[in-house]
């Protein structure tokens, strides 16, 4: 079982081999993927199918222990909650099924699992050590289950941003952590609900948000709800909607000049197939190790490429396009983010105002090539994959422009900004620290000091920002749970008042009974008619009892 379909899928496809081998490190390749999509679209099942194991438990079935029955996959770090947010301040992940509480909105939970995939490439004799992929899988739970799903994509986007920030902080640090783990998400699979109608507001919004930080691959989940005709129509509609709303998904683009013919053909074919329609399954044939879905009307072999693109998707993810996903994340998305982030720094430490322009240009180089070599030209940091060179260049071009503008516009308004800084303790402290260090070293070697300043300040600034954000979120959560409590208290109080009212009413009734006057009873009936139905019946009973007494 172990050698047959698994290794072929995980091992890089023919054209990727050469790139792969060269890039191969001893530590293996890091690859990180995120699964996003409404709940019930088969994210968990897909993850299990992808790794050919049963690592991820299904919703409400968490009592089943995580186990790998695939010897090529090893869990390094079990699934843990990375971040969560919910309206009532209660995390919902891993909660067991409780029929009394599902009206509570589950909010959103982001979990992360670290895995190690070993690939024994059987066709290679010389590779004594098997290839390893350090695979990070991030899953999102609870999306689309809330009444208001607004909080969900904020949380996911902030998680992705956090990964970028931590890498940025690490890059600018003087002393780097050799064991630093890059957790940037290289590709996000977005599972579209199989409606047959096209994209919905939520889909468009989330994909747009995600695409700022990662490559987004739209996936038609549970494709077994479509007949072949319906599927082609649905795919067409999705692509039309993606065009119409300008959703920047990952497109399998080709560069006619740079790529070899085979790659062009492959990418074109993949682009035609997008969005991939996949069928996943839980059931597994013990003899062949193949997954299947069994219905009363037939059996689906999910590896059948005529029905499901699952096998193809596996190949794209782990083989042909793995490096490309990583490169776009690093060279295009991350660089843009970084330029934006650093461009916003000058507004913060104003003391360095005059020299910011040059320092950031230097800084740009410093980030890409490890070390403080200012002499490096921009070209030397160009990525190895040539077909992306053009894209990256344009991306960098933009970033340079955006860098050039802010210092100029910031200079005249300096006094106003310092006024703002005084109000904010954090900012003031940062500017103060830079103030302290700047005059001391500025005579000896100004260039070095600037770099030093940046590498000292930015990690802390980012960290500080993160802490502030976290604090804010915690406060929000606290407020939410406080509100929830308040609501419950109010409800209880209301109930208590109701009960008191009832008691009073009963007492009154007994009182009027002693008077034995039907007249008062009828008037009371009028006055209580607004109350519950039961009360009325009670008075009726009273009437009946009174009449019987009289007789």
């Amino acid at each position: 079982m172990s050698a047959s379909p698994v290794s072929q899928v995980f091992s890089p496809s023919n054209n990727g081999v050469s790139v792969f081998r060269r890039k191969k490190e001893k530590r293996g390749i890091t690859f990180s993927m995120m699964l996003v999509g409404a709940s019930g679209t088969g994210k968990t099942t897909f993850a299990n199918n992808l790794l050919e194991s049963t690592i991820f438990p299904h919703r409400y079935q968490q009592d089943v222990p995580a186990s790998t029955n695939n010897e090529n996959v090893k869990i390094i770090q079990p699934t843990k909650v990375v971040t969560f947010n919910s309206m009532n301040g209660i995390p919902s992940y891993m909660s067991a099924f409780d029929p009394a509480s599902p009206f509570l909105e589950p909010g959103i939970t982001v979990t992360s699992t670290a895995l190690e995939i070993t690939t024994k490439s059987s066709e290679d004799i010389d590779s004594a050590t098997p290839e390893k992929i350090n695979f990070f899988l991030t899953d999102t739970l609870g999306l689309g289950e809330n009444l208001n799903n607004g909080i969900c994509f904020d949380e996911i986007a902030s998680y992705l941003e956090q990964q970028f920030d931590s890498v940025l902080a690490e890059e600018t640090r003087i002393k780097r952590n050799p064991r630093f783990q890059d957790t940037r998400v290289h590709v996000a699979l977005y599972f579209i609900e199989p409606t047959g109608h096209g994209l919905r507001e939520l889909d468009v919004e989330i994909m747009k948000r995600l695409s700022r930080y990662t490559n987004v691959l739209p996936i038609v989940a549970r494709a077994d709800s479509f007949t072949p005709d319906e599927l082609t129509r649905f795919k067409k509609r999705i692509m039309e909607d993606i065009d119409r709303f300008n959703v920047p998904i990952y497109k399998f683009e080709v560069d006619e000049n740079e790529d070899d013919l085979e790659t062009i053909e492959e990418n074109k074919a993949l682009a035609r197939l997008q969005p991939f329609a996949i069928i996943c399954a839980d059931q597994r044939d013990n003899a062949t190790g193949k997954y299947y879905r069994e219905y009363p009307w037939g059996k689906i072999d999910i590896d059948n490429e005529n029905i499901s693109d699952l096998k193809l998707l596996k190949r794209v993810l782990f083989g042909s396009h793995l490096q490309e996903f990583k490169d776009t994340t690093q060279n295009l998305l991350y660089e843009n983010y970084r330029a934006e982030k650093l461009a916003s720094v000058p507004a913060w430490d104003i003391e360095n105002n005059e020299v910011i322009d040059t320092s950031i240009n230097d800084e740009n180089n410093e980030g890409n090539s490890s070390g403080l070599m200012k002499g490096l030209t921009r070209n030397s940091t160009a990525p190895s994959l040539s077909n992306f060179a053009s894209l990256i260049n344009t991306g960098k071009f933009k970033s340079q422009q955006s860098l050039a503008i802010p210092p100029q516009s910031e200079t005249p308004s300096t006094p106003r900004l310092t006024g703002v800084d005084e109000g904010d303790e954090s900012r003031a402290s940062i500017s103060a620290s830079s103030q302290k260090s700047t005059p001391a070293n500025i005579q000896t070697s100004p260039e070095r000091t600037k770099l030093r300043n940046i590498s000292e300040n930015i990690p802390y600034m980012l960290q500080h920002e993160r802490i502030v954000a976290r604090k804010q979120k915690l406060e929000e959560l606290e407020a939410q749970s406080a509100k929830e409590l308040q609501k419950r208290i109010q409800e209880l109080e209301r109930k208590a008042i109701e009960l008191k009212m009832k008691e009073k009413l009963l007492r009154q009734n007994s009182h009027s009974q002693s008077q034995e006057s039907i007249q008062t009873n009828t008037t009371k009936q009028n006055s209580t008619s607004g109350g519950a139905y039961i009360k009325k019946e009670e008075t009726y009973n009273d009437l009946a009892s009174i009449i019987s007494k009289k007789e």
Binding site: H58, P99, P102, G198, E201, Y295
Partner: protein, 394 residues
């Protein structure tokens, strides 16, 4: 011999039969559920006629903006079978659950159901009430997305509200994506939630006293297989043995809609049309309409006795239309509040600015006054000097 000569009382059912078959029947069905669950297809499958083209929604969504509001689409049709005509009103609610924020999106549906009860009640109070326009909803089909997990908060909130106003029948849509095991688990969870949340779904009456064992058994079967898992299709295929059946054709097999092994479509149809149509209509009249009427009349009595703001017509027993303003919809209320807040904020900011200006002007004035005094003092000093100089000159 006397037993052979009937008085004729036993002929009453036949008379009623004739009367009813002449009059025909009315049946109003409301479908509710997120888009893309096959509501339209199901309606077409149920009545075996294309009442509504299935592409009608998508055509519209292509042009309009993506943020949709819940709409109410009413479709009227007359179906004839064996000389009996049934007027069918199908109400669709496109756009339900399509937004990012679906809070309160059930309001339109609830309002619609209430409005029908209300208009019927007021028609009843007219002096001439023989012709009634009746669009009271007899059954609500709530389509559940086949996630395999459970019910979502939106489903629960909506179903809770519907179940107090109409006969609610939950159905699992597109059941052909769940395997038998998954379906079984899913159904169980839904039933548990429905029970725990006290959502009253419509169940066919089980008359223990009746000696019709077959009907009893049938009703029991229906209850057991709730919520119904359904598959809809408008196409017919050859099922292999030469007969044409309504089905969905997949590369891996043919899903027959009217096959009890594949889905519960036949059971649902039986519940809706064949065996329990009258139950649905009657329980709407006797239970849901009466409840609504009682609550309305009670609240009316309360309203006139407690606060006399609207009490100008409390003399007659006539119930006014509910004072339903735009602010009735909680969503509008939220928006209104947000706008109000924005407005007050703006006003505050402006006021602040004005105050600042005023302060500045006052400061300026004080400063100028000071300057003026200084200058005057100087002038005085100079004048004094001039005077002393003049004195000296002399």
């Amino acid at each position: 011999m006397t037993t052979e000569e009937f008085v004729g009382i036993s002929n009453l059912p036949n008379q009623i039969y004739k009367l009813v078959s002449k009059q025909g029947g009315v049946f109003t069905l409301l479908t509710c559920g997120e888009s893309g669950l096959g509501k339209t297809t199901f309606i077409n499958t149920l009545f075996q006629a294309t009442l509504k083209p299935s592409d009608s929604h998508t055509g519209r969504s292509m042009q309009g903006p993506i943020r949709k509001t819940v709409e109410i689409d009413i479709l009227r049709a007359e179906l004839e079978e064996k000389n009996f005509t049934l007027k069918v009103n199908v109400i669709d609610t496109p756009g339900f659950g399509d937004n990012i924020n679906n809070d309160k999106s059930w309001q339109q549906i609830i309002d619609f159901i209430d409005d029908q009860h209300d208009s019927y009640m007021r028609q009843e109070q007219q002096p001439y009430r023989d012709v009634k326009f009746d669009l009271r909803v007899h059954a609500v089909l709530y389509f559940i997305r086949p996630t395999g997990h459970g019910l979502k908060p939106l489903d629960i909130e909506t179903m809770k509200r519907i179940s107090t106003r109409a006969n609610l029948i939950p159905v699992i849509a597109k059941a052909d994506t769940l395997t038998s095991q998954e379906l079984q688990d899913f159904k169980l969870r839904i039933r548990q939630v429905i029970e725990a949340q006290e959502i009253r779904i419509f169940t066919p009456p089980l008359n223990e006293t009746q000696d019709d064992a077959a009907a009893m058994e049938h009703a029991r079967q229906l209850i057991e297989s709730m919520p119904f898992a359904i598959v809809g299709s408008e196409e017919q295929f050859d099922n292999g043995s030469g007969t044409k059946v309504v089905a969905r054709k997949y590369p891996w097999g043919l899903v027959e809609v009217e096959n009890d092994q594949h889905c519960d479509f036949r059971k649902l149809r039986s519940l809706l049309l064949r065996t329990n149509l009258l139950d649905l209509v009657l329980s709407t009249q006797e239970l849901h309409y009466e409840t609504y009427r009682r609550l309305r009349l009670e609240s009316h009595l309360n309203g006139s006795s407690n606060d006399n703001e609207l009490g100008e017509k409390s003399a007659n027993n006539f119930v006014a239309a509910p004072a339903r303003k735009l602010s009735h919809n909680p969503k509008f209320k939220e928006e209104e509040n947000a706008l109000k807040k924005y407005f007050t904020d703006q006003v505050k900011a402006e006021e602040q600015r004005f105050r600042q200006w005023e302060q500045n002007i006052v400061n300026e004035r004080i400063k100028l006054n000071g300057d003026l005094e200084k200058i005057q003092a100087e002038v005085k000093k100079l004048e004094d000097q001039v005077a002393t100089l003049k004195l000296r000159k002399r």
